[in-house]
C-alpha cells in the first residue's frame, strides 16, 4: 500500500530551514500554527494517552489501604510502594491465582496462532501459484467471507461443538478432550482464516513469478518450492500476521466467554469477573490488569517493526 518515503537529498536549497533544508506538507502546516501551540497540543495528547495507564501502574504498587484510600498522585508526595498486590494476585492455589489463567492464556494462544497461520500460508500459496479448476471463484468466496462478523457464527458453532453430527466426539461439555481447549483453538483458527489468507496471498503475489517458474523447470514440486523458496521469503509477512493474530487471541474476550469452560478460561475472562466481584479492590484490579498486559506489550514492543508493516498492508478484522 503506502510506501515509506526514501530520504531524498534536498535538491533546491531555497528554504534553508534551521533543522532541515526541506519542507514537508505537515511541517508547512505546522508552521501556520505557532510552534508553541503545536507542541502544546501534541504534549496534551501524549499526556492524555499515557496518564490513565500510568495511574493504574502506580496504584498496582501501592499498599491496599492507600490504593483504595486516596488518589494515586499522592504517591509522589508520600511515596510508599510494595509488591504485595502482585504477590496476592499471583499467589494462592488454583482459581485464586492469576497464574492459572496466565497459563490458560498461553495454552490457548500458541496453537491459536500456529494453526491458522500454517493453514492460511498453505492455502495462500495454492491460491497464488497453483493452477486448479475453480481457483478464482474459491478465492473470491474466501475473500468475501471477511464480511461475516463472528457474532453471526457463534450460536450454530457452539451447537456444532456440543452435539456434532455423525456421532463425532463433542468438543464442548464436561467430557470434552483437553477440557474444551480444542473448541477454542478451532474457533480462533476459523475466525482468522479469511483475513490471513487474503493478506498472505497479497504478499505472495509480490514474489516474482519467474522465480517459481524457473524452479518448476528445474523439476521442483510445489511442496519443495513452498518449503524452500516461499517460506524463507515470506518470513516477514508471516511474522506480521503472527503478531496480529497473537494480540487478537490473547486479548479476545467474546470467543473465550462463549466457548471456554471454567477450567480453561483465559486472563481476560478472569479480569472481567474480578471487576464484577471485587470492583472496589483497586489494588488487586490494577495488579491483575498489568499481569495481563505484560506479555502483549513485550511482544508488541519487540516486534513493532513487523506489526507496523502488517498494519500498513491493511486489516479489517475485529
Amino acid at each position: 500500500m503506502t510506501t515509506t518515503p526514501t530520504p531524498e537529498p534536498a535538491m533546491v536549497k531555497e528554504t534553508p530551514g534551521p533543522t532541515t533544508g526541506k519542507k514537508s506538507a505537515s511541517r508547512a502546516a505546522r508552521e501556520g500554527l505557532t510552534s508553541k501551540t503545536a507542541s502544546g497540543v501534541s504534549l496534551v495528547i501524549a499526556l492524555l494517552w499515557t496518564l490513565p495507564t500510568f495511574g493504574l501502574l502506580v496504584s498496582s504498587f501501592r499498599p491496599e489501604r492507600e490504593a483504595k484510600g486516596n488518589g494515586w498522585w499522592n504517591a509522589f508526595t508520600d511515596p510508599n510502594f510494595t509488591l504485595d498486590n502482585y504477590r496476592e494476585v499471583l499467589g494462592g492455589e488454583g482459581d485464586a491465582s492469576l497464574v492459572t489463567f496466565l497459563v490458560n492464556s498461553i495454552v490457548i494462544t500458541i496453537p491459536g496462532v500456529l494453526i491458522p497461520i500454517t493453514l492460511a500460508t498453505l492455502a495462500a500459496y495454492a491460491f497464488a501459484w497453483m493452477k486448479f479448476k475453480g481457483r478464482d471463484v474459491l478465492f473470491v468466496a474466501m475473500f468475501a467471507l471477511q464480511i461475516v462478523p463472528i457474532q453471526v457464527t457463534l450460536i450454530p458453532l457452539l451447537s456444532l461443538y456440543t452435539s456434532p453430527p455423525f456421532n463425532l466426539r463433542p468438543l464442548a461439555g464436561r467430557d470434552a478432550p483437553a477440557g474444551g481447549l480444542y473448541e477454542l483453538w478451532l474457533s480462533h483458527a476459523i475466525f482468522a482464516m479469511p483475513l490471513a489468507i487474503f493478506l498472505l496471498h497479497n504478499f505472495m503475489r509480490e514474489i516474482p513469478g519467474e522465480l517459481i517458474e524457473s524452479a518448476r523447470v528445474d523439476g521442483a514440486g510445489h511442496v519443495e518450492i513452498f518449503t524452500k523458496i516461499m517460506l524463507p521469503l515470506m518470513a516477514p509477512a508471516i511474522a506480521a500476521f503472527g503478531i496480529f493474530q497473537f494480540l487478537w487471541v490473547w486479548n479476545d474476550l467474546l470467543v473465550a466467554l462463549v466457548f471456554s469452560g471454567p477450567d480453561v478460561a483465559p486472563l481476560t475472562v478472569k479480569l472481567v469477573n474480578l471487576v464484577g466481584q471485587r470492583g472496589e479492590d483497586w489494588h488487586l484490579l490494577s495488579a491483575g490488569a498489568f499481569v495481563s498486559l505484560v506479555i502483549p506489550l513485550a511482544v508488541f514492543l519487540g516486534l513493532q517493526r513487523y506489526f507496523v508493516r502488517g498494519l500498513l498492508a491493511g486489516s479489517v478484522k475485529g
Partner: protein, 320 residues
C-alpha cells in the same frame, strides 16, 4: 486440569497438527502428473476451505434462518424479532447507542490521529511521541476498560477521591460526577475508551501516508504562498484522502463489533448496551435465541457494506 496437564495437551495438539500437515505434504510431494497436481491443490487449500465452510458459511446461514424463530428456536415467528429490534424501547436505546459509537469513534480517533501525526511529524521526539499513542493498541479492551474505569472512579464529593477525573473536578471546586451512571452521557465516556485505543492505529497509517506525499507538490504550493492551515486543508488532507477513508472504515467495522468495553465497564447496565453486547446478553442471559440471531444479522447488515467499500478503497490504494 493442572498446569502440566494443560501444557501437555497443548504440546500434543501442536505435535498432532504438525504431524498431519507434514504427512500431507510428504505424501503429495512426489506427485507430478496432472492428476497429482490436483491432489496437491486439494491438500493445500482443503483444510482452510473445510474450516471456513463449516465454521463460517454454515453458521451464518443457520443464524439467518434462526432469526425468524422464537426464543427457544422452535416456533416460527416471521419477522417479529426484527420488528422488535426497531420498535421495543429498550432495543431502540441499543440502536441509538450503537449509532453514537459508530459516528463518534471513527471520526474522533481519525481526527486526533491525523492532528497528532502532523504535529509530531519530523520533530525531534517523533519516535517516542508516536510510541506513546501507539501503545494502547497492544492493550486488550478489557485492560483498557479497567484503566479507564479507574480514571472515572466515583466517590461522593465529601470523600477523598481516587479517580483522576473526579480528583480534578474536586480540586477545581466542582461536585464529583458519576461518569458511568447517567445516560446518555455514560455512553460518551465509554466511547472515549475506544477512541483512546484506535487513535494510535489512525496515526500510524496516516503518518506513513503523509510521509509519502511527494515533496514537489508541497514545494510548488509553498512557492504559491500556501502555508499553515491552508496547506493542511488543501494539500495534506486531499493527498491522503484514500488512506483517510481506509482508516475511517476500518475503525467503523471494529466499532460495530465492540463488546468487551461495555461488558467490562458497565455490564450493559445504565442504558449503555450496544448491538454486539445485546446479542450476547439476549442469548446467554435472557435466553432469547431468536432475538439474538436477529441482532447478529443486523450487525452483519451494518458491517458488510462498510467492509465491501473498505476493500474497494484498499484495492485502489494498492493500484496506485
Amino acid at each position: 486440569m493442572t498446569t502440566t496437564e494443560k501444557l501437555i495437551q497443548m504440546v500434543i495438539a501442536i505435535a498432532l497438527f504438525i504431524g498431519v500437515m507434514a504427512a500431507i505434504l510428504l505424501l503429495t510431494q512426489r506427485l507430478k502428473s496432472r492428476r497429482g497436481e490436483r491432489i496437491q491443490a486439494v491438500a493445500f487449500v482443503g483444510p482452510a476451505l473445510f474450516l471456513v465452510a463449516v465454521g463460517l458459511l454454515y453458521p451464518a446461514v443457520k443464524t439467518a434462518y434462526q432469526s425468524f424463530f422464537g426464543a427457544n428456536g422452535e416456533n416460527f415467528v416471521g419477522i417479529e424479532n426484527y420488528i422488535d429490534i426497531f420498535t421495543n424501547s429498550g432495543l431502540l436505546v441499543v440502536l441509538r447507542n450503537t449509532m453514537l459509537w459508530v459516528l463518534l469513534v471513527p471520526t474522533l480517533s481519525t481526527f486526533i490521529g491525523l492532528v497528532y501525526a502532523v504535529l509530531v511529524d519530523r520533530s525531534r521526539f517523533e519516535k517516542l511521541a508516536k510510541a506513546l499513542v501507539f501503545l494502547p493498541m497492544a492493550i486488550s479492551l478489557v485492560g483498557a476498560s479497567i484503566i479507564w474505569k479507574f480514571v472515572y472512579e466515583y466517590k461522593g464529593t465529601e470523600n477523598t477521591q481516587i479517580g483522576l477525573l473526579n480528583g480534578v473536578l474536586k480540586a477545581l471546586g466542582f461536585d464529583t460526577y458519576n461518569f458511568l451512571f447517567y445516560s446518555p452521557w455514560n455512553t460518551l465516556f465509554l466511547i472515549v475508551i475506544l477512541i483512546w485505543i484506535q487513535a494510535g492505529f489512525a496515526m500510524t497509517i496516516l503518518s506513513a501516508s503523509i510521509k509519502a506525499i511527494p515533496d514537489d507538490i508541497v514545494e510548488a504550493a509553498s512557492l504559491d504562498g500556501v502555508s499553515g492551515l491552508k496547506m493542511f486543508f488543501f494539500i495534506t488532507v486531499p493527498s491522503i484522502r484514500p488512506s483517510l477513508i481506509v482508516v475511517l472504515t476500518t475503525i467503523s467495522i471494529g466499532t460495530l463489533k465492540v463488546f468487551d468495553i461495555v461488558q467490562t465497564s458497565t455490564g450493559g447496565r445504565f442504558d449503555t448496551s450496544v448491538l454486539a453486547y445485546e446479542y450476547y446478553f439476549q442469548y446467554f442471559v435472557s435466553l432469547n435465541q431468536g432475538l439474538a440471531a436477529a441482532l447478529a444479522v443486523v450487525i452483519f447488515a451494518l458491517v458488510s457494506p462498510i467492509i465491501i467499500y473498505n476493500v474497494r478503497q484498499m484495492r485502489k490504494l494498492e493500484a496506485r
